[in-house]
Symmetry: C2
């Protein structure tokens, strides 16, 4: 049934250009992409010089409230952090402005100290490209995330310090 | 009256560390900083290599709706764009991550084609530092903004292309 819908949709070319987060398949560990994450508020921005990407870090209401009241050691259960990454490019009207180009992926961290005790209290997930292809073959993929985020273990495994927005 | 309140506040040291946008004085052209701008949603991020800053560009509801429905040529009256700039620094736990350091300023553009006809249909304003010191001696300061934003005249004076958040 699902497959025949897929074929029909392809035939009719009814897939929208901008994919819908609600259609993202779950990550191999079962985590799903909250469909309203685009509406979350800002926690920070970053650039990664090793791969030439710009990023925005957003938080759900629980995360924003925790950040603004300084309750992030540890972050409360229910806090969710999303990071959107784009390839960087130079603005075509202003050469020294570096701006988002092609969309790369969306990362998610979901805090639930009990449920995700095996991975620092956080559930990790990543979706690649605008087809939202879940990253990882099986639930073990989170070890890769955890391995790197271990450098931020003292900050409850979170690298981002909520940026000051006075 | 205002002055004695100021002296009293200083004496009692009651000024909060994180300034409140509601307390920002109006810009020389009368534009005020919307007190909820920190809650606006994301339109884009950028880096300026000529001065080493990272920026987040946020939009009010009207601007976000316009951006998501592609109605930005021109942007509708009532759309407001805010840009927050921070000095960039290297993350102390991950050297190739460039993240926000010291907060520098917040810029605002308010669309009202009739009211701001003399400045491209946009009202410009900037507040410096967390004391929200309005930029500019008199309303002429907006000519400086306009002069540079003229490079984006074909995009209704706006440099930022709303970033794809699929």
């Amino acid at each position: 049934m699902k497959r025949s819908f897929f074929v029909l949709a392809l035939a009719l070319n009814t897939f929208p250009c901008h994919a819908d987060p609600a259609a993202a398949p779950p990550a191999p560990n079962g985590i799903t992409l909250p469909k309203d994450y685009q509406n979350w508020r800002l926690l920070g921005v970053s650039q990664r010089t090793e791969n030439g990407t710009l990023r925005a870090i957003l938080g759900n209401d629980k995360a924003i409230e925790a950040a603004r009241s300084g309750q992030t050691h540890p972050w409360p259960d229910g806090a969710m952090l999303a990071k959107v990454a784009w390839k960087q490019k130079s603005h075509d009207k202003f050469a020294t402005a570096v701006v988002p180009g092609e969309y790369v992926h969306t990362d998610l961290m979901v805090k639930d100290a009990a449920k995700y005790a095996a991975t620092g209290g956080w559930g990790f997930a990543r979706w690649l490209g605008d087809k939202f292809t879940p990253y990882g073959q099986d639930a073990q993929f989170a070890q890769e995330c955890l391995g790197c985020h271990g450098a931020a273990k003292d900050a409850d495994w979170v690298f981002t310090t909520p940026a000051k927005l006075p």
